[in-house]
């Protein structure tokens, strides 16, 4: 099965590249920590307040940190034409986008699981909520990755306006923010929490279904007009 070989090859290569650009990844997480520290100083260390709005702050900053890494998706491979080579090895653009999403999720989203408790510490929040935040982040991070893939592929040929990629991510992640934050605040009724999780799951499935197609189409259009 040569296609599996190709998929594995692309996956290994992506992992290697991410491993090489370790400091870039690290700087994104440093951005996250620094923003939280700045928030603490801007609002003032107020335990009660942070217990109320802390989850919101964390989600907002996760989202902002993600806008930093849009370029990591397809831009390098697009510029050095390796997308063409990978495509000619017999992978459709949609599959390439899926592999990219998987690696980006592993290397740029999964580490947030380690950092989230630190954010909780810095904001002096109660650790009771950590479990639910983990759960919502597990689903939300997949959604954000899908949205970033769409946004990253849309901006491959965009040389003028770099902030538009971040705008596209932010507008589509409004539902993630609404439900991801609400899940903690809304109630301790298990039924309602389950319903919220289900809705987040629904949004995740929706974006998982459309984002390979959208980004594959955008990559194809961009390659054809390079």
């Amino acid at each position: 099965m040569s296609s599996f070989n190709s998929i594995l090859g692309v996956f290994l290569r992506e992992s290697k590249i991410h491993y090489r650009s370790f400091f870039h990844i690290l700087s994104i997480f440093l951005f996250f920590i620094l923003s939280i520290i700045i928030f603490v100083f801007a609002v003032g260390s107020n335990k009660e307040l942070f217990n109320q709005i802390g989850v919101g702050i964390i989600w907002t900053i996760i989202l902002l940190s993600n806008t930093l890494s849009i370029k990591k998706f397809f831009q390098n491979d697009f510029d050095d034409n390796s997308l063409i080579i990978i495509h000619m090895s017999g992978l459709s653009y949609e599959i390439i986008a899926l592999i990219k999403m998987l690696t980006i999720w592993m290397f740029l989203q999964a580490p947030f699981f380690i950092i989230l408790p630190i954010a909780f510490l810095l904001l002096e929040m109660q650790f009771d909520n950590l479990k639910i935040v983990y759960l919502s982040f597990l689903i939300g991070s997949v959604i954000i990755t899908c949205i970033s893939a769409i946004s990253g592929s849309m901006n491959l040929l965009n040389k003028k306006n770099f902030s538009i990629g971040g705008l596209i991510i932010m507008i589509f992640s409004i539902p993630v923010i609404i439900f991801g934050v609400n899940i903690v605040n809304v109630s301790n009724n298990i039924e309602i929490i389950k319903a919220q999780i289900n809705i987040l799951l629904g949004i995740m499935f929706f974006f998982l279904a459309i984002s390979p197609w959208a980004s594959g189409l955008c990559i194809k259009i961009s390659l054809q007009n390079k």
Partner: protein
């Protein structure tokens, strides 16, 4: 057997290619020439099915490549005029990546001997970001050997290479032709290869 039939291609309602016909039998080699901007690279990209022509068909062994895209891909190597190696990876890692995605049967010691012939062996574990332009181009051409495909499509393969490497590449191409391979390449200089078929593209008004 590759047949290119009446290709018509336009960009922003400006015709670039008009009624291009090519036929390439086994052991055949086509040398595309023409002024800058005449659509040589575009034609090569159409042959590799990265671009879709507005009109006209391409046949590979009698089958339309639109219906047979996957098998066609398995028979074609495309060397672009730009490098496709990743600058964060070493020479060896790039080669291994290509070997993996094209499911190549080539052995490790064969790769090393190729590297030695091209004078890249000492840079085996250097990131390609530290290599010179010509060395990156040589690394790029190693794909011809790794991919083990029938049809080679080369865009400006001789640019930036020293004379010795040009000779090696020409020798490789001749060997490939002897093994009933096919080659299409663009170049502004005419290398000495027997039975070469030069096609001159002209700007269409």
């Amino acid at each position: 057997m590759l047949l290119v039939n009446n290709i018509y291609f336009s960009r922003q309602s400006k015709a670039i290619l008009k009624d291009v016909n090519l036929s390439l039998p086994p052991k055949g080699i086509i040398h595309l020439t023409g002024n800058n901007g005449v659509g040589k690279t575009t034609l090569l990209k159409i042959i590799c099915k990265i671009l879709n022509p507005d009109d006209g068909e391409i046949f590979w062994n009698g089958k339309n490549i639109k219906k047979n895209h996957y098998d066609y891909c398995k028979n074609i190597t495309f060397i672009l005029d730009q490098n496709t190696s990743n600058e964060n990876l070493t020479v060896y890692e790039n080669i291994i990546f290509w070997k993996k995605i094209f499911s190549s049967q080539i052995k490790i010691n064969e790769i090393e001997s190729i590297l030695e012939v091209l004078g890249l062996l000492e840079y085996k574990n250097t990131s390609t970001i530290h290599l010179s332009f010509g060395e990156i181009k040589k690394l790029e051409l190693i794909r011809l050997i790794i991919e083990q495909k029938k049809l080679w499509v080369l865009d400006e393969p001789f640019i930036g290479l020293d004379l010795k490497s040009v000779e090696i590449i020409i020798q490789t191409i001749t060997n490939h032709l002897d093994l009933s391979g096919m080659v299409i390449f663009t170049s502004h200089t005419l290398p000495t290869i027997p039975n070469i078929n030069t096609v001159n593209l002209e700007i269409n008004e």
